[in-house]
Symmetry: C2
Subunit: 203 residues, 2 copies
């Protein structure tokens, strides 16, 4: 078989395919396609791709304050919005980016790097939670918006954080649940419709 005989000569391809399969959601066929595309690309592109990986890995750290990705000790958001009194708690940097892109929030973030998930053996101590309590106190925070996903683990994490912060008298809120833009009511699940009705707004 080619894979067994010739592939020994073309270890490079096999190694590259193998690395691509490590990316989330990439199976063998897709990894093969990516690897062949790399081989067929310009050397310049491959070099800059390869450098971009190393550059990102070497330079991007976690912000000491909020846990978001940053090239400095503190990320740009933490610095520019230092006086803001609202913290939005998210699961990971991607969620922070999604919220930031919406333009609907101009406060600071706090990235948990996970959610409470007994099945994955992740408890509150595995999350970036301790510094949240300190921040709420030291930065005179007035509101904590918990923006974890509206699923079982996200809800459990939200309840846990709420119970932790509420005693200090700080307002704790959760992202609203309801219809997504462009949704078809006939296809929307019961829980979401229930939430949309309970949280209905006057027009």
């Amino acid at each position: 078989m080619w894979q067994n005989s010739v592939m020994k000569n073309i270890d490079c391809i096999a190694t590259l395919i193998n690395h691509f399969t490590k990316l989330q959601g990439v199976g063998y066929k897709t990894a093969e396609r990516f690897a062949y595309q790399i081989i067929e690309s310009d050397m310049d592109f491959v070099k800059s791709f390869s450098n971009a990986m190393i550059c990102a890995k070497e330079n991007v750290k976690l912000c000491r304050t909020c846990g978001n990705f940053s090239v400095e000790e503190n990320c740009g958001i933490c610095e520019r919005r230092a006086d803001n009194k609202t913290i939005c708690v998210v699961r990971d940097p991607r969620d922070a980016m999604a919220i930031e892109k919406s333009g609907a929030f101009v406060g600071k973030y706090h990235v948990l790097h996970g959610v409470i998930s007994p099945l994955n053996k992740k408890g509150p101590n595995d999350l970036n939670l301790k510094s949240l309590i300190t921040r709420v106190r030291d930065e005179n925070i007035e509101e904590v918006i918990i923006a974890t996903n509206p699923d079982v683990e996200g809800e459990a994490t939200a309840s846990y954080i709420a119970a932790l912060i509420k005693p200090s008298g700080v307002k704790v809120t959760r992202l609203a649940q309801g219809l997504a833009m462009g949704a078809y009511i006939e296809y929307v699940d019961e829980v979401t419709i229930g939430a949309a009705i309970s949280n209905r707004v006057i027009i």
Copy 2:
């Protein structure tokens, strides 16, 4: 917006995401996910991934004889099967690999690196075709199996190649069309059912 302000600081992430979006079928969201995964991986993994790219690009060339990927001047298949009298013509190295994996073919390959496609401005001269004619003659080939895809462009390419080779008296064949393993006849398209009936075999 984060993308515009902070991202200037985190050029590395933006650059990496941008490179991932260049992979076929990878959109911005997926590229973002890949990039974040790279940042969150071990430095060792990122370094070996990065090296694998360069290694593959630097070492993998096209076989001088068949046009398949190879680290030597001639690929392993061309060398080991030099005496074989059958050539299987495929569109690209991936197709050769798929056929090789099936174990049903033990002859040599010839990789066209494309198919005739007027819409994409690809004519016969843009394919690795000239050397096929030479090979058929010089290697005393007895059969040419044309294994291009059973779509319009693949069929056109097959007809073109057949017309080119047949005058030399060499047998030219095409992969059979019919039901795929595990197919449900009720969902199979008319053309395929037609082909399966015309090409029916005695049991």
